[in-house]
Symmetry: C2
Subunit: 406 residues, 2 copies
């Protein structure tokens, strides 16, 4: 059994780095607050006897030796960055839970056959730089390191500049640390476990993701003197697109979601009809056929709206992550650990994307979910209980022990 109080203490100690007035955390990747939590994490790993290395994209790897160093390490961990209005658990539980597993094994004097590697992946959130799960995507070869280093935030700062800014451009090439498999603990970020009174979610799959950048070009004109039929209003156009995305996702029942999270009017003025808007789209399904249908529906809706309103709409797909099907053996190991420990559990699909989804494309991966209050995440009110966090960490530890061998 892990030390529940120690885990809880770590979570709340690090929540000070970027703490918001509403009780959440604002710790955008590679920001000053991210540096603070990284420095804290590096020291905690070193104090726990781990050998810490940082790769060229800032991902941090803390290695605990095994008896058989020819075996590839079992990877565990998650991320320490948050959304602009993020909570204290998303990513953090999985990273500090991994650290807690190491501390517990140390205290109990347990040596494993295979080594264990604790990982903090850079920019999982995808809020400052696209795509989300950026560093793990580069790790598995979906993008080159140079491509990722050149990605820019809204201010025009590149990933490379941001890494240098906080001193976390590591000297190891991306992929230097081979992993044999990867297990990630996370809050569910959805309402199912709580609603069904289950402690552990055995994650067997994850939704695929489509991310688009959009731009609407209408025509600026006077809000008072331009007759309604002569308008080419970019915001009215966006409004129809937002509602079309919503309707398209709803039509698939619980099998799809679609969101427009960002929309910026160029040169806004109260008495000017908006002429130009940049926006982004996020839509998802666990079913690749439905993903294709969402793409088709969205493009068809936009074509119709743009033609009718005589505006130009550009829609660029900037990221496509297919649905994830986690490794059956690892899924069974998670399920078995939950059963052995006496926790109620159920299989579940992840609505959110995770670094484990990327890793699963090259090595076996799996995930452990615990409930979060009202399914709320990407919100400062995100919450989870101490017993649930401890339960998830115990399941993580027992899964690791089963895979790494004692």
């Amino acid at each position: 059994q892990i030390d529940s109080a120690r885990l809880w203490g770590s979570i709340h100690e690090t929540a000070q780095f970027g703490a918001t007035a509403k009780g959440g955390v604002r710790r955008l990747t590679l920001s000053a607050e991210d540096k603070q939590v990284r420095d804290w994490f590096r020291k905690a790993c070193e104090d726990a006897g781990l050998e810490v290395h940082v790769d060229a994209l800032g991902s941090m790897f803390g290695l605990r030796k095994g008896r058989d160093m020819s075996k590839p390490p079992v990877g565990i961990g998650s991320h320490l960055d948050t959304q602009p209005t993020g909570g204290k658990y998303d990513g953090i539980l999985g990273t500090l839970g991994a650290l807690e597993v190491i501390r517990t094994l140390n205290d109990a004097g347990i040596e494993t056959e295979a080594p264990i590697c604790v990982v903090n992946w850079t920019n999982e959130e995808g809020s400052r730089f696209a795509p989300a799960m950026m560093a793990s995507a580069a790790y598995v070869g979906d993008f080159t390191t140079d491509d990722i280093l050149s990605r820019k935030d809204v201010e025009g700062v590149t990933v490379g500049q941001a890494l240098d800014g906080i001193g976390y451009r590591g000297d190891k090439p991306v992929g230097f640390q081979k992993l044999g498999c990867f297990v990630e603990l996370h809050i569910e970020q959805g309402p199912i476990l709580e609603a069904e009174g289950k402690t552990i979610g055995v994650v067997d799959s994850g939704q695929g993701v489509l991310w688009y950048d959009g731009k609407i070009t209408g025509f600026e004109s006077h809000a008072g003197s331009t007759p309604m039929p002569l308008r080419r209003d970019a915001l009215a156009t966006l409004s129809e697109i937002v509602l079309a995305m919503e309707a398209t996702a709803k039509k698939r029942g619980p099998k799809a979601v679609g969101t427009i999270g960002e929309a910026i009017i160029a040169n806004p003025s109260r008495n000017v009809i908006p002429g130009e808007i940049a926006f982004t789209v996020d839509c998802r399904s666990a079913d690749a056929t439905i993903m294709d249908a969402l793409d088709r529906d969205l493009r068809a809706a936009i074509a119709e709206i743009a033609a009718r309103r005589k505006v130009e709409v550009k829609l660029d797909l900037v990221w496509r992550k297919p649905p994830t099907h986690f490794d059956p053996k690892l899924i069974a190991a998670v399920e078995n650990a939950a059963r052995t420990l006496g926790y109620s559990s159920r299989h579940i699909t992840s609505g959110a994307g995770h670094d484990a989804c990327n890793l699963n494309t090259v090595i076996p991966a799996a995930m452990v979910f615990v409930p979060c209050k009202d399914g709320i995440s990407h919100n400062e009110l995100e919450d989870a209980t101490q017993p649930d966090c401890a339960a998830g960490t115990n399941v993580l530890m027992h899964t690791v022990l089963a895979i790494a061998g004692v």
Copy 2:
């Protein structure tokens, strides 16, 4: 006849202050560019023999003496500020046209019975500070000077600070310069004169204006893991409001317009459902009954949308300007001047608001419109022809001579 080339030269010389790459002008009120054009204008007025004074809100008054100084001056002029993506004519034609009238009278050695006063009103556009036609509203007593001085732009800068910043907080109290009447020359900012091939619009009325500040409070949550039916999406809410405003205005045929020009998502992130949005509304009609109906329809639509989507929507009316009916005697004077000069003309309603609309609430006022290309205004592509600008200025001059007496 005024000097068409000289007028055209002034318009294009001052267009350098805030010139944009697309050929427009960005000269927000009380900005550094506004100071440049004000300095130019002050010198030009003084060179034309006018005695220039500035009031506590920065409005500039250039007085040309008349034979009978006991008579209140005939006011002419408009404004030199522009929209963020403004053109070279909106306001500028009326202000520099007024200057051109003075220069022409000087050249011809014409003395009038009543004095003439050329005015440049501060913040007609209402883009940086609300309301529009701000200084003339204070002049007629709709707002106190102190109230207006405390209004803030999006950066939190007050009107008072902005005035001090460019050195245009004048030493005269608002209202110091009494006017007997006011005549304003302006581009139409709509498509009617051009479509009908008329040179002069004899403006007999103006639309009333309703301005609102709105705020939507939904709930931020994860774009991937939050099921569609559980969302409280602020942007989807705004989208319905935008389309409801559009439908409500369209329902009144050509008698109403409605626009949402500004919308800002708080803490936007691609994979977060928007939780909070601030927006503004501008809706108008020349019929006060329809204005009331627009207000009712908008509030009813918002109440229904907010309840159904379980979000909170606040809507505050920040400005209500009733419809304008200009002075019959002055309207006749404008019409007569156009006829005498041989220009085709028609009566017209102003879609936009103007300082003349404010002045009309306390003294007789009227307006002269000239066509603008494709009815485009509040756009960098705004355009008007030299002959039309000259024609409008001639009508302005002959109207003034008829009222002031030669």
